[in-house]
Symmetry: C2
Subunit: 430 residues, 2 copies
């Protein structure tokens, strides 16, 4: 892009042409005297023409230099617009936009405001304007201008506020020696969504009319980039809230179940947390861990299908009642399978009563036929049950539970998972 | 922007200067002859200088015209980049990008490909290339070039494929008379995410080196805009799926509850649909309707807290049992309140047993103290119960139910809601 651009500049050539025209003029002037001495007069048109040519070219040199700058600014604008669109992170975009304004204009200070949901302008980014400043008298000028720009939707530029009649009424412009002020609205589909303000107290003429045009173009780009980032941000938040709501709802479901089951208070929460920890130790991560967490939360959801008279029976269950009770993993499968999002979380509710040696239920699966998530959960479930007081027995001490798990390694439990579990630091739970 | 630009053009002035230089030269030539007749010779440098000046200016005219075009293209690019970023809808963005390419280059035909999740290029948009064409021999040239551009990440431009040594090996270039071919990669953060191809069979020189530069800049913008739209699209889909999963999960919850309650099959589904219809008739819309739908789905969720011996008792309940049973709306409130997302859906589970005259439970609220959603649901719930067979009675005929609802208008039910309900066309339900 840069090479392309450099090849294209006419300015140096125009300078040379100007030099040439000047020297041609000098040469002719010289000749005029010589010729005059010999009684010959060259037509006036030739001298006028050369002088005019020389002046025109001189003017073009300036114009061409400005056009070069204009091209350069446009290339910069194209690059900048790519940069500000390269992120959908709102904070990143706002900072990129603010820094670009400062560097494009050479401004001393600046700020960016956006309309909030209620349509009220709010400060979002500032450069070299301390929070203190934002409350000072001096700042009132900036904010007056900012609000006017937002209201009228038109940019304001002054190259020397000291001499700009629009600012005569504001004594503070003089007091605070503000010289160059620039403020452009951010517009999306014709609506003002915010504004960018920049000023310079030292130099007058820091901003030119060309700056205003480039900055208006930039503000248009920036407004769109900011709007996109905002939309993306809102959608992300809604996504996050929805995901959270989903999990809170599952937890509520689990809690309701726990109440009916008269399971030890907090059993579900504890086994869920511990299962996730153990799964993480064994290499699970990301969304996989989420499935495990949901599966653990819902591990006994199938008990919704077991009548109270069996579920809540204080005495030992009859063989028929036991058979009914053993249906809860199948009920869980039937209940959760239609919910696509929960399908990857099914292993635990469906398979947490399978045993390593194939003696479990409902499938009599053995060893690695049993999904790893279910093998992990089975150990945590038994561990928590034995560590808790139950109506028919007191909780076992930690060492006795550890010994029990070890003794069941290779029969009830996957030996590898038992090892991983026993190596974990259970902290106060242990 | 346009005015700004027009003021800036040097081309016309350069043309005038060129004319001036030419006529000055002519005038001097004329003088040379006159002077020669008088025996005077003007220095050669003057004539050489003027000729050189005239030539230089002539060259600058061409250069300046190109620079004007360049500026114009850059302004167009800035505008276009705003347009393609103005939407986060993927289809809109892809079409905008494709149309821009066609109009910027004056191409005859073109297509746009994007890498899919597996990194394989897929056609996404095409212009003037029929599906038939996409399979023809002719198209193989285009796709060969496209794949090469994608692989090497560098653009390809030929102003006359017939004479371009890169295409000598491809007989089909000659056969199909392809002349101008342009293909630029779409890159995001250095990675090729797709490409844009355009060609022209009729004109050679349709694309210039300048086109390539502008189009590379455009492709950079387009790649970013497409990537943003894609990210947004993915997030939207995930949001939609999550929202659906949420509702499917609630339905699962409701279904599980219905099973235990041995409620008439489909009661929940029916009352939910009908409640939503009636609520819509009464002016509810959007997210409000969703809350109503969720509330109706979960109307009896509090029964999870009622033991089987009461819930499933075939005989009449004792007064104590009735008191326990009447707690289900309170249980629903306690269970759902912690789930923020469901809080706006609470009115129905919590208040659907309140009555217009204040004789309902759990709050004994009267008239408009009862949330409207609950007043609406109460009518639909009774309607569906009476229209269904129950173990202890057959379903009532439609007219009898309507008469019952009317008789309860102003005591059990809100008269306004009864009217609205009876005016509804219940179709085969009625």
């Amino acid at each position: 892009m840069q090479d392309f651009h450099a090849n294209n500049s006419n300015t140096d050539q125009l300078r040379e042409i100007h030099q040439l025209a000047v020297s041609l003029n000098n040469m002719l002037e010289l000749q005029r005297e010589t010729l005059a001495r010999r009684g010959v007069l060259l037509p006036r048109e030739i001298f006028h023409g050369l002088a005019h040519l020389s002046n025109s070219v001189k003017f073009l040199v300036k114009n061409s230099a400005e056009q070069d700058q204009e091209l350069e600014r446009l290339y910069a604008l194209v690059d900048v617009s790519k940069v500000i669109n390269s992120s959908l992170d709102l904070t990143t975009v706002l900072n990129e936009v603010m820094d670009t304004i400062i560097s494009l204009t050479g401004a001393e200070r600046g700020f960016l405001m956006l309309s909030n949901l209620q349509g009220v302008l709010e400060f979002r980014v500032a450069r070299n304007m301390a929070r203190g400043t934002l409350e000072e008298e001096e700042f009132k000028i900036s904010s007056t201008i900012a609000y006017r720009v937002a209201e009228q939707g038109e940019p304001v530029l002054t190259t020397n506020a000291q001499e700009d009649p629009r600012f005569f009424s504001q004594h503070s412009v003089a007091i605070y020696n503000l010289r160059s002020i620039l403020c452009v609205p951010l517009k999306v589909k014709g609506l003002v969504t915010g504004l960018i303000y920049a000023d310079n107290r030292i130099r007058s003429g820091a901003f030119t009319q060309r700056d205003l045009h480039i900055l208006t173009a930039f503000a248009n780009q920036a407004a769109v980039a900011i709007e996109n980032a905002r939309l993306f941000h809102d959608l992300q938040r809604s996504n996050f809230e929805l995901a959270q709501a989903y999990d809170v709802t599952l937890e509520g479901w689990a809690r309701a179940l726990e109440l009916r089951d008269q399971e030890t208070e907090g059993h579900t929460r504890r086994v869920t947390e511990l299962t996730v920890r153990l799964a993480r130790e064994m290499g699970y991560e990301g969304e996989e861990l989420n499935h495990i967490r949901r599966g653990a939360l819902l591990h006994d959801i199938g008990k919704m299908g077991i009548p109270d008279r069996i579920l809540l029976k204080p005495d030992k269950l009859t063989p028929e009642e036991q058979e009914l009770m053993k249906k809860h993993p199948v009920y869980a499968y039937e209940m959760l399978y239609p919910i696509e999002k929960l399908r990857p979380a099914l292993d635990i509710p469906h398979r947490h009563h399978e045993k390593w040696d194939g003696s479990g239920y409902p499938g009599g699966l053995r060893e690695k036929e049993i999904p790893l998530a279910a093998r992990i959960f089975a150990i945590v479930d038994v561990w928590d049950a034995l560590r808790s007081d139950r109506p028919y027995r007191a909780s076992w001490p930690s060492e006795k539970v550890r010994a029990h798990l070890l003794s069941q390694s290779g029969t009830h439990f996957d030996p590898r998972v038992v090892s991983a579990f026993l190596e974990m630091d259970l902290g106060e739970l242990g």
